[in-house]
Symmetry: C2
Subunit: 366 residues, 2 copies
């Protein structure tokens, strides 16, 4: 399957039109599309426009409400609790992170929870909003239960990503953006399409036993039949899988419990009482003003030295390069901005289908 | 080697006297001893009184100054930057976390950096101080370079622990307290004493190649000859070792760069210019007031449900129990409070040596 390269700005406009036709206010439609395309531009197609139809389906099914506005439930000079009212996760996340940034600029720190939300795309989009303001940015979200706790065999917790970013001067910013599981679900799906086995240590079967059977794990996930992806560190405690499990739990503590929304196994449409309801994803955003601790210029200088030192340090046998987190994605971004965003045939077909159905001209080629 | 069981209160008093004889003010001597003994009580002997003589040696060598007081360099209602002035890490950490707690109680959040410090013991001691105040607590520290970055072979970064804690109602609190490497150095030392090989995935040799040779890795570490422990997730990117590496870097960003102190490979007495100097460890503390986001009672109820749900979920084949982070340590604490703290012969011998040398009665038996 050869990729088709499309123009990121045209692609964003196209997706925006799709959301607008479904009743999403233009501003919200635009930010949602921008978050999706940002993921493709950064080389993370699993969270990009490949997911457009899932959002469309959610709006049509009524699990995502297109017209609602996030509401501030509680607020102080440093904190806020927001209700996303079951709208799209991206506008709610954008609103939440902007509020955290505003508070950090004024009061040194800002922390914001969001409840009753939906999938918000890549965690790193929001944390990176802090960089323009020379702040440290934090973004977390809980997500549909796909991972097993250490010594468990039931999907009890999400892949719960965490992103933390910090600016540097000459070096690119440090952009950590990671699922707290060994891998996100998307990586399993890629191997499944290629008919390849899983590396041992990524997932367990319905008995909780490590397996390389890609199709079986995904099939189990689809049916909620047990098993799932492993926390970072793998199965058991030998390679410290309990640490990854602990971090997933931390993300759910901040995004689920502190936000006062659903958590762990209940971040899905089928609810505790058996009824069908909203997914109720929760997010957590933070921003810290560097100047409150150390002059910004000095901080950036130290970051340059730290990041440059790591990149320049001795390589392991056979290795040519040591990366800083976010570096590969910045390089992809630069490349795809010029060359166009690569889309798989399946994604192109879905976009063309939407174009036809909704009467939106398909004109996104680079 | 049978362990000797000693009384934790008497042990704390004994250690306090040791520090007092070395010129440490009684209050600082007490808190330092309390942090050490808390680690033993929680079943983490690697960070307990087994390290007493390292602190004693540090004070005698002049790399830890016994009489200094931490100084607030910069302060706002939500943040502070502290200079530990090369004193013991524990009193500086205690001071820093208390300040973060005070700010969180008053302003919703409190974040405090500490520079020019020393090893502060277990990260979890400080974060857990937040629990008495029904706050979420955060504690991080950078540490001597022992870990290699992904694709690297030089010890460029510490085992950089992070601790995050949150209260529950009926369940014990959630207490994450983890090195961001697969294992801390102490676990390698335990295997070395037993003459056992390392599990593959814990460490790399001086070429950056995964190895099971325990003695070789420790020998290399001692000589700074290359190699070291691996980030959580192991070697390369197959099992996402880059994520553990990214978290170590995050801890150093907060504790090293934001605190404005030494970082990565320079957290040691041998400095960049070849001179011998202070270790300049950095810490980062945070506290969040739960009530600012959601009523405390509701938060604790959700935590109960989340933690209870995980513990009660289906076990993997052959497994009997799913743990919450901190649970094992709380159980050890309850046991050792009653039965006494177990000390290895080597540690008992060191304490008896200190007793004789400093003229402090050795009377710590349970």
């Amino acid at each position: 399957m050869a990729d088709t390269y499309v123009d990121d700005v045209k692609l964003t406009k196209f997706c925006t039109e799709v959301f607008v036709r479904l009743g999403v206010p233009r501003k919200d439609a635009h930010i949602t599309s921008e978050v999706l395309v940002a993921s493709d531009l950064r080389g993370i197609p699993s969270h990009g426009v490949a997911r457009l139809m899932r959002y469309v389906d959610g709006i049509r099914a009524g699990t995502i409400l297109p017209k609602v506005k996030p509401k501030i439930l509680k607020e102080s000079s440093t904190t806020a609790a927001i209700d996303a009212k079951h709208g799209l996760g991206q506008p709610a996340g954008f609103f939440g992170m902007n509020l955290a940034i505003k508070k950090a600029k004024r009061s040194g720190v800002g922390f914001v929870t969001v409840r009753n939300s939906n999938h918000y795309g890549i965690a790193g989009y929001y944390s990176m909003m802090a960089l323009k303001n020379n702040l440290i940015g934090i973004s977390m979200t809980n997500s549909a239960p796909l991972a097993v706790p250490t010594f468990g065999r039931a999907s009890m917790i999400g892949t719960n990503p965490i992103s933390v970013v910090a600016p540097a001067a000459k070096q690119r910013p440090y952009v950590l953006d990671m699922a707290t599981t060994v891998v996100p679900r998307g990586k399993l799906e890629v191997l499944n399409r290629l008919g390849r086995p899983l590396p041992l240590g990524w997932a367990v079967d319905e008995r909780g036993v490590p397996t390389t059977d890609t199709a079986r794990v995904l099939d189990n996930m689809g049916k909620a039949a047990g098993g799932g992806v492993l926390p970072l560190g793998g199965a058991g405690e030998d390679l410290s899988g309990h640490k990854g499990y602990g971090m997933s739990l931390m993300v759910d503590m901040f995004s689920g419990a502190l936000a006062g929304t659903d958590f762990g196994p209940w971040v899905k449409t089928k609810k505790k009482d058996g009824s069908k309801g909203f997914i109720n994803v929760g997010h957590f955003f933070g921003a810290l003003k560097i100047d409150n601790f150390i002059p910004l210029r000095r901080f950036k200088g130290i970051m340059d030295e730290m990041l440059g030192g790591l990149k320049g340090s001795n390589k392991a046998k056979g290795e040519k390069r040591i990366f800083i987190h976010g570096e590969k994605e910045f390089e992809k971004y630069d490349l795809y901005k010029k060359k166009g965003v690569p889309l798989q045939d399946k994604v192109v077909a879905a976009l063309k289908g939407a174009s036809k159905e909704l009467g939106i001209p398909y004109n996104i080629k680079k």
